[in-house]
């Protein structure tokens, strides 16, 4: 298997699986088996690519030419490799979890669900491996459309409304701003290839750089930069595996990944920092971080709270790009991984709680920790990772983001990151803490902590739900200790133009 074939295989496997899944619609066990098998196979192929990548292989393949110079091209570079690994790796977890959740919650039209899910993953990989802006844009839209049926899955009026907002905002921003930015870039640079150090320097009047950046930053609606974040909470009507897909595996990560990619390969961080064009974005991202966290504090619905938490966390990555130095890119990219691992756990926990106890509000969770210890321990661990505490992965990405802020002399940003962590504590930890330590309403469980006899038995969600949760929660810890390799890998991200390297 050559690297190029592997590249196409990685993209094609999930897409091909859709047909099998569709064909096996009437045999759920086989269908779900196909879905899981494909996810594992895809991950294996991506790992193969990763292995080759580490050995220095840089496969690139051009599929077809839409217009002269406008080609559908796939190429592997470090950021994309990272994103692909995260997306395909977490797909396995989500695929297993989906089985438990969809059956546990008795959802309808599961075949459609699995089909759209596979297409979404395929699109995410397409985004990851895209070799130019045009290819990226195409798969960006594919991802939007393929996730729409997932968001609307329940087909209730609320689901339709949420899906409408979801599609509306993502489409609006991508067509109104992103496409214009893409065409503009093409117009001035004459190319859309992702190149180390960017393609715009010397070709664009520096006065326009902030404007173009704004078109990109707001155009990438999936990055949920305020004020275009509403779609994320609106999409909360979807079944939980979809939320996991949106928040951790593919969608928002595709957004911030695009953001990073545009920052490094289209603008070039050096260019951004020399022109100061991303200055405003730093402030906007910082504001987004804080405001979203504060809103999250006020939400009682667990998934909604997590959604706003995602909005806030995504801005970390945007911030990393906007700070425009190497540490920022490293921190941002690292945060993609760390946040993905943490957030997927949180959402899967929220789903498990729903499946097992039919509770969706934080205030209803008092005392539930005793019944669902695994779920809530995982929730605690993932919360700590999101907050950015050692020994959890999130600590490192925050470290590099802060380092980047310090390097860019944005001391206020350091303060913002600190305050944000505290706000994270305030809105995430109460969930698990209340579940474990606050006695249920009316119950008297006051004991000076001498002994803790569990009342009633365990009432966990199905094993298909709980096992993935535990895996990702432990993943959060492993990421803390294995960060060295990740860091080495991220140093491969070319920051300077090739000629000066």
């Amino acid at each position: 298997m050559t690297d190029t074939t592997a590249l196409l295989l990685a993209l094609g496997l999930p897409a091909a699986a859709t047909f099998l899944i569709a064909a096996l619609g009437s045999r759920p066990n086989l269908r779900d088996g196909v879905s899981v098998t494909t996810s594992v196979a895809t991950f294996a192929v991506v790992l193969y690519l990763l292995n080759g990548f580490l050995d220095g292989a840089r496969p690139s393949v051009t599929l077809f030419e839409v217009l002269p110079g406008l080609v559908l091209n796939f190429a592997i570079e470090p950021l994309g490799m990272l994103f692909a690994t995260v997306a395909s790796g977490l797909w396995i977890v989500t695929a297993v979890y989906s089985i438990g959740y969809m059956r546990g919650a008795g959802e309808k039209k599961q075949t459609r669900f699995y089909i759209c899910f596979a297409i979404a993953i395929s699109a995410a990989l397409g985004i990851a491996f895209s070799g130019n802006l045009f290819t990226l844009f195409i798969f960006y839209e594919v991802l939007t459309i393929s996730t729409y049926p997932l968001v609307a899955h329940k087909e209730t009026p609320e689901a339709r409304r949420g899906a409408r907002i979801y599609l509306g905002i993502l489409m609006t921003t991508s067509i109104l701003f992103l496409l214009v930015a893409v065409i503009w870039t093409w117009n001035i640079a004459g190319t859309m290839d992702f190149r180390a150090g960017g393609i715009l320097e010397g070709r664009i009047d520096p006065v326009y750089v902030p404007l173009l950046l704004a078109l990109f930053a707001f155009g990438i609606g999936k990055a949920a930069l305020m004020p275009f974040h509403r779609w994320l909470p609106a999409a909360m009507v979807a079944p939980t595996p979809v939320s996991a897909l949106l928040h951790a595996v593919a969608v928002v990560k595709a957004g911030v990944f695009t953001m990073l990619k545009v920052g490094t390969y289209i603008f070039g961080v050096g260019f951004l920092s020399r022109t100061g064009a991303s200055e405003w974005l730093v402030w906007l991202a910082a504001a987004s971080i804080l405001i979203a966290s504060i809103i999250a504090l006020t939400k009682d619905d667990l998934k909604e709270r997590l959604a706003y938490s995602t909005v806030s966390q995504l801005s970390y990555i945007t911030l990393g790009m906007a700070l425009a130095n190497q540490m920022g890119v490293v921190g941002g990219a690292m945060h993609i991984v760390m946040h993905a691992m943490g957030k997927i756990t949180l959402f899967m926990c929220a789903g498990a709680i729903y499946v097992a106890a039919h509770k969706t509000k934080v205030s209803e969770l008092d005392g539930l920790g005793r019944k669902m210890p695994f779920t809530f321990i995982a929730f605690t661990l993932a919360s700590l990772s999101i907050i950015g505490l050692p020994p959890f992965g999130g600590a490192w990405s925050k470290w590099y983001l802060m380092l980047s802020a310090a390097e860019a002399k944005h001391l206020v940003v350091i303060g913002v990151l600190m305050v944000s962590s505290l706000l994270n504590v305030a809105y995430l930890l109460p969930v698990a803490a209340r579940a474990f330590f606050v006695p249920p309403r009316g119950g008297m469980a006051h004991s000076l902590g001498a002994a803790a006899a569990p009342q009633g038995g365990l009432a966990e969600a199905p094993a298909f739900c709980v096992i993935p949760i535990c895996v990702t929660a432990i993943g959060c810890i492993i990421l803390f200790f294995s960060v060295g390799g990740l860091y080495e890998f991220l140093l491969h991200i070319p920051i300077l133009p090739e000629s000066t390297q």
């Binding site: 217009l67 839209e141 609307a152 067509i175």
Partner: protein, 501 residues
């Protein structure tokens, strides 16, 4: 023999359907008439293709009718532009006719079908004639042939809905006014130059220079053609005509009639008037450009509120014509390319969409959007065709609609007309809304109780899907269409005498 045919291809292109029409009327049964008309349309298409290939290199085929040399005789003149339009027109005919059999059976009583196909062939004759001729008055003649037959075709929708008659009547009045204006304009030109041959007109007008009469002639021709191509606000005949016409007619006329009118406008503006007069550019910028933009929004907004699928698509057509006029009004090579390529792209897209509408009518007996609830399950192929063509209408990548948008926005950016670029994108967002209304109905609403709806017959599905396939194919590999459009634009520009910036 072959050589003779080849030499006479331009004449055959028009003469063949013209002679076929009365023959068809004599065939007796609808089935036979249909078969004959289909055959003729295939041959016409083949001729158009061979003409297109012949002109591809930039050669201009000049055919003297009856051996009389221009400017005295009538000249048929085929260059890249009108060969392109010929392909569109005859190609659409060749697709609509196979499609027509079942739906015509459904919509028109058997005894009238012979006449229907006759009118259809006449209409085809007219449209082809308008396109191919190099004589200004001849344009008027063929325009009337096509218009009169179109009135008849639309009126034949009266068996299903009586309002087709008023619609046709209105169209008749408006079309006649348009034709009158057009002929007045030509008269004025004749007054100045004493010739009717287009090439000759161009030279003479250039020699004659600016005058009141010339200006008046220009305005009359502009308004006259504007009526034919449904330029906002001269579009009022169109919605009803499209809505109440039989489905096959709508599909054909929507894809071709307005396109041919646009071609005439292009031809007159560039070849005849030649653009060395500031007043033309000013008229375009002050009248056509704003009207085009208003059309893009007003018509799209109206489309959003429509309940009738065909009516919605009709309004969408008015908006799309706005795009075409907009590209024209840019007066740049890119703008013209966008305009011309959109002629083709919109023909393909809208043709497919109206065919889908016909399929829905065939299956449900109604063209109301609310009757489409849950139809995605019953008619998966038809609905999928609608979704993909809808994407093209919105302008999503990998469809032809994207290519048009791409060039339009590029043209706007080249000129530095930022607001226009954003407006173009803004109006595509409205397209999302009206397309998505249908998608939501089709997929996310439960089917009405007891509704029995079967997938459309293959003879309807195949032409529809050919168009859908084309809209994807030329969206993925647009080099050919864009190349042709670009060459056509170049030839138009070179045929005018103005100094291009």
């Amino acid at each position: 023999m072959l050589a003779m045919i080849e030499a006479n291809l331009p004449a055959l292109q028009v003469v063949l359907p013209l002679i076929a029409a009365p023959l068809c009327a004599m065939l007796g049964t609808g089935r036979r008439a249909w078969a004959f008309a289909t055959l003729v349309s295939f041959v016409a298409f083949a001729i158009a293709i061979s003409l297109f290939i012949a002109t591809m290199g930039g050669t201009i085929i000049s055919y003297e009718m009856g051996g009389w040399a221009p400017p005295i005789g009538i000249e048929y003149r085929v260059d890249t532009l009108n060969a392109f339009v010929l392909v569109i027109v005859s190609g659409m005919a060749a697709l609509v006719l196979p499609y027509a059999r079942r739906i015509v059976d459904y919509e028109i009583p058997a005894e009238r079908q012979v006449l229907f196909y006759t009118a259809f062939l006449l209409c085809l004759t007219g449209l082809l004639g308008v396109t191919i001729t190099g004589d200004a008055f001849n344009v008027f003649v063929f325009l009337e042939i096509s218009s009169l037959s179109t009135y008849a075709l639309i009126a034949s929708g009266a068996w299903r809905n009586k309002r087709a008659l008023t619609a046709s009547y209105n169209y008749l009045i408006m079309g006649t006014i348009g034709a009158t204006f057009f002929v007045i304009g030509i008269g004025m030109l004749y007054m100045i130059t004493g010739t009717l041959n287009m090439a000759d007109l161009g030279e003479k007008i250039a020699a004659h220079g600016d005058s009141r009469t010339l200006r008046t002639g220009f305005v009359f021709i502009l308004i006259g053609i504007g009526l034919k191509l449904a330029m906002f606000p001269l579009h009022l005949w169109l919605p009803n005509a499209y809505t109440f016409a039989p489905s096959a007619v709508t599909a054909f006329v929507a894809a071709t009639a307005t396109k041919v009118a646009v071609y005439v406008l292009l031809r007159f503006m560039f070849t005849i008037f030649g653009f060395d007069y500031a007043f033309q550019a000013a008229t375009l910028e002050n009248v056509v450009l704003p009207l085009a933009i208003v059309a893009m929004f007003a018509a799209s907004l109206v489309a959003i509120f429509q309940d009738d699928l065909k009516r919605m698509l009709a309004y969408s057509s008015i908006a799309q014509i706005g795009y075409i006029l907009l590209g024209l009004a840019f007066l740049t090579h890119t703008g013209l390319t966008a305009s011309i390529v959109h002629l083709f792209n919109h023909a393909v897209t809208k043709g497919a969409l109206f065919m889908v509408a016909g399929c829905f009518i065939y299956a449900t007996g109604s063209s109301s959007i609310t009757s489409l609830r849950g139809i995605g399950r019953d008619m998966p192929w038809t609905t999928a065709a609608f979704v993909i063509s809808g994407f093209s209408l919105i302008g999503l990548p990998l469809t032809v609609g994207f290519i048009s948008k791409w060039y339009l926005v590029q043209a706007a950016i080249e000129l530095g007309w930022w607001p226009v670029a954003l407006l173009i994108m803004g109006s595509s967002l409205l397209a999302i809304v009206y397309i998505w209304r249908v998608v939501e109905q089709a997929y996310l609403q439960p089917a009405p109780e007891g509704a029995v709806r079967r997938e459309a017959p293959l003879s309807m599905l195949v032409p529809t899907w050919i168009l859908v396939g084309l809209s994807v194919w030329f969206g993925v590999s647009a080099t050919m269409t864009v190349g042709a459009a670009s060459r056509a634009a170049t030839s138009l520009i070179s045929s005018s005498q103005i100094m291009w910036q």
